[in-house]
């Protein structure tokens, strides 16, 4: 195919016994957004990383601008004009925007040309319609602003091909819209853009889409010729599991109540301020809001991981004191933490050991004075089966799991019998449709079993589909509470941005 910016044939990459990418072809034309779409672990990030020279393929050929390439490092790709924006930012927080842009720019010798670079950066930012102060320190910027820096950096370094790995995972809906407007501008200038995504909304804004499943390419299609249903079926290889229906139920007794719950300002992040809420048995209460508006502090206090500065937590009518994870676990509070790998799983331990964590002193994991690792493996084998976790077996290390499979392990553990309160902060973040459906089903099952469920999500659709009531949080405070049935997306959106709609009565 002539005229392609980038062309790949038969790319293959194995990690140990797992083939992450299996003979995948790919091509990118100038002036198009080409989306890589697939479930977690389908090979999207692996393919993107090979294109950007981050990892080397075991097999296959890559050509850029018609010439064959073997990238030894990202620097080789950058020299070719190929830049990548990673899912996890690689910015130096203590540096200014300009200093971060300077890091890794080639051929600057030992004395970088600060002034010249500042002019270029400013011009490019203006061109793209981004307001960014080059002298601002990165630590003071929002996640969205940090993403602009990453994009700016890639464009300054590379400038022909831009690869974005799940760029909207951390953005607000508004910031996502601006990102796509910007990508449109870049496209018109003839850049080729590779977009890794598992969100259908984003895929539908691309020009072409390559669907990957289990390391293999399913198809490459013109986006205009397809539809979300077809793409989803291609991605998971079957029809998605049906969403459960929401039958009206009688709410049970109040299980959790917080009174003017406030966390310390010094605890890091945005504190929760003066939060009073109730959760009843058999209901799901949603917390809407952009992440980083005090949800983490609220959930940590309810899980016992963070001691409140003031206010109280009442469970089953009894005040909890002291507020500690041990105490909360004892009272049946279970938590799916926001950061799966940092707060939830022990990466070096096996799946079966992670499933046992916290219940390792009780039946069925205890045999006399010893831990019954055999029983743990049997439990894990059942969980792997029931949740369809893609792994080599109960002995696989948790760190080897993709995000979606790791979340399934956490779900299985926190849903186990004995829990009466389930807390889930952003449980679907970064997950593909298949896993999202599993998470939803799990939360519903727990609710139907009579548990009190608190769910925080940035995805309003999640909340509207699942919740009985919705609270909106902004800068640590609960702005409003409403029944999900008369929730209005516009109004929630305004509240999420801190605006109190005047018409709301």
């Amino acid at each position: 195919m002539t005229g392609a910016l980038m062309e790949a044939r038969g790319l293959t990459r194995r990690f140990g016994s797992v083939t992450a990418l299996d003979g995948v072809d790919f091509d990118l034309k100038p002036g198009e957004i080409h989306c890589l779409f697939g479930e977690n672990g389908a090979g999207k990030s692996t393919l993107a990383s090979i294109l950007a020279g981050v990892i080397a393929p075991d097999d296959g050929a890559l050509a850029v601008g018609g010439g064959p390439r073997r990238y030894g490092s990202p620097a080789d790709a950058i020299a070719d004009g190929v830049g990548m924006v990673h899912q996890h930012f690689a910015l130096v927080e203590a540096f200014t925007v300009l200093e971060n842009l300077m890091v890794g720019l080639p051929g600057r010798g030992w004395r970088p040309d600060r002034a010249g670079l500042a002019v270029r950066a400013r011009a490019l930012a203006e061109d793209l319609g981004i307001a960014l102060d080059p002298a601002a320190r990165v630590s003071t910027l929002s996640v969205g602003e940090r993403q602009w820096i990453e994009i700016l950096k890639s464009l300054m370094e590379a400038g022909r091909i831009l690869i974005l790995d799940e760029p909207t995972a951390v953005l607000t809906p508004e910031e996502s819209r601006r990102l796509f407007a910007m990508l449109d501008g870049l496209k018109r200038r003839g850049l080729g853009i590779v977009l890794v995504s598992h969100k259908l909304v984003e895929v539908m804004q691309s020009d072409r889409v390559t669907v990957l499943r289990r390391g293999r390419k399913v198809a490459t299609l013109a986006t205009a010729d397809t539809d979300p249903g077809t793409l989803t079926r291609m991605m998971i290889g079957a029809s998605p599991p049906p969403e459960g229906t929401q039958a009206p139920r009688a709410a049970g007794a109040v299980v959790v109540e917080t009174r003017a719950l406030t966390s310390a300002e010094s605890a890091g992040g945005v504190p929760a301020r003066d939060v009073s809420l109730t959760i009843r048995a058999g209901e799901i209460v949603g917390v809407a809001g952009v992440a980083g508006n005090g949800q983490a502090a609220l959930f940590d206090m309810l899980a016992g991981a963070l001691a409140p500065a003031s206010g109280e937590i009442v469970i089953d009518g009894a005040r909890v004191s002291p507020v500690s994870p041990t105490e909360m676990m004892r009272r049946g509070v279970r938590c799916i933490p926001e950061d799966r790998f940092r707060q939830g799983l022990v990466g070096e331990m096996s799946i079966s050991e992670n499933l046992m964590l916290g219940r390792h002193r009780a039946a069925p994991f205890r045999r006399g004075p010893f831990v019954d690792y055999g029983a743990a493996d049997r439990v894990a084998a059942n969980v792997i089966d029931a949740f369809r976790i893609a792994t080599t077996g109960p002995q696989a290390r948790a760190a080897s799991l993709s995000g979606g499979n790791a979340q399934k392990v956490l779900l299985a553990r926190e849903m186990a019998p004995g829990g009466r309160v389930l807390l889930a902060n952003q449980p679907t973040r970064g997950l593909d449709v298949g896993v999202v459906a599993t998470v939803h089903a799990a939360l519903r099952a727990k609710r139907d079993e009579g548990a009190a469920v608190l769910l925080a999500s940035e995805e309003l659709d999640d909340l509207l589909a699942l919740c009985d009531r919705i609270l909106v949080m902004f800068r640590g405070r609960v702005m409003a509470a409403m029944s999900a049935r008369d929730a209005d997306v516009e109004r929630i959106g305004a509240l999420m941005a801190g605006r109190q709609p005047e018409a709301a009565a």
């Binding site: 899980a303 994870p325 041990t326 676990m329 022990v346």
Partner: protein
């Protein structure tokens, strides 16, 4: 181009090969070192071999030397498994020796059947107590355990020095340069398995402790928690385990093992309290724990190896006229070689094709 990659789970064969290679390399470098200082490497190694395993007496001597190293190695391995970087084994050896000595002073006329268990319990408790102090400082005030344990080491070592030279515990006539207590009563001497070389009860304790620690780590809920704390303390805490209490238990357990090493030396080898005989046992334990990859059975093997080396080195300096300092240099070279071998086993080289465009 060749790239270095991590290999988190090397096979047993890779591990064995790396360690054997490291030992060969270590001895080769040592041979160069010996030759460079003007002695005959073959003769020096022959002497070490003779001194380590050349006779029944030599073998028993090696086991005696290995005893405290195994115990302090276990102490390090248990703490490091929980990712508690305690360097306090040195001080805990002293604390164990001193606390055990307190028991001897308390009931000097008691029969052996009472005095020895009491002294061992006191010894373990002394080491555990010092470990607990560091745990408390960390949990309560966030003091880094590396700093606190090293500082506590200084305090306890000089406390013993003061007690022996000017304080209440010194032998009559003890001076600053010649510090020792009066001899222990005969009833306090640890029973021997062999009268000539004095293979004392401490070796049986070290052996049993190795097996017990292996079972603890691999099979018990506490061992599971220790590994989880080392892997991700935050996840463990959020699942309801009191991490502060766990830290205390681990540090006390580690300290108790080191304390047993201390009292074992006092009542099994020197028969009196002497600071110089205890010096360096704790720090050697840190290295042995690391060489063993923090595995208790590995500690047993490494402890026996370095016990033999230490005993052989004594023989070498007596037999040939190579200085004793050379023996220590050889130990150092071997330590570094084996540590390098461990690293080598956990990395691999991968050939990548360089940029040709």
């Amino acid at each position: 181009m060749i790239r270095i990659e991590r290999n988190p789970a090397p096979s047993a064969a890779t591990l064995a090969l790396s360690y054997v290679g490291a030992c060969v390399m270590g001895f080769a470098i040592s041979a160069l070192l010996i030759a460079a200082t003007g002695y005959d490497p073959a003769e020096a190694f022959g002497a070490i071999w003779q001194g380590a395993v050349g006779s029944q007496t030599a073998m028993i001597g090696s086991l005696v030397k290995a005893t405290p190293l195994i115990l302090t190695g276990l102490a390090a391995a248990i703490a490091f498994r929980a990712r508690l970087w305690s360097i306090g084994q040195e001080g805990q050896v002293y604390a164990g020796a001193m606390a055990g000595w307190c028991a001897v002073l308390l009931v000097p006329d008691a029969p052996a059947l009472l005095l020895i268990p009491l002294a061992l319990i006191f010894g373990a408790a002394g080491g555990a107590g010092l470990g607990a102090v560091a745990a408390g400082l960390r949990t309560r005030y966030g003091v880094n355990e590396i700093i606190s344990t090293v500082m506590l080491n200084y305090i306890i070592v000089y406390l013993l020095s003061w007690l022996l030279s000017g304080g209440a515990w010194g032998e009559v006539g003890a001076t600053v340069s010649y510090q020792q207590s009066p001899p222990a009563p005969e009833a306090a001497q640890l029973p021997n398995f062999d009268d000539r070389g004095r293979l004392h009860l401490g070796f049986a304790i070290a052996l049993a402790a190795s097996l017990a620690c292996a079972a603890l780590i691999a099979r018990t809920p506490l061992g599971f928690e220790i590994r989880a704390l080392g892997g991700n303390g935050e996840a463990l805490r959020r699942r309801g385990v009191d991490v502060g209490r766990l830290t205390l238990v681990v540090m006390a357990l580690s300290g108790a093992l080191a304390g047993l090493a201390g009292i074992g030396e006092v009542l099994g080898v020197t028969d009196r309290l002497r600071g110089d005989e205890l010096y360096g046992l704790g720090y050697a334990g840190v290295v042995i724990g690391l060489i063993a990859g923090l595995r208790p059975i590995g500690v047993l093997v490494a402890g026996l190896f370095f016990g033999g080396l230490a005993n052989g080195a004594v023989f070498m300096s007596v037999l040939s006229d190579a200085p004793a300092a050379l023996a220590q240099a050889i130990q150092g070279v071997l330590l570094i070689s084996i540590l390098c071998g461990g690293v080598a086993a956990r990395t691999r080289l991968r050939r990548t094709v360089a940029h040709v465009g």
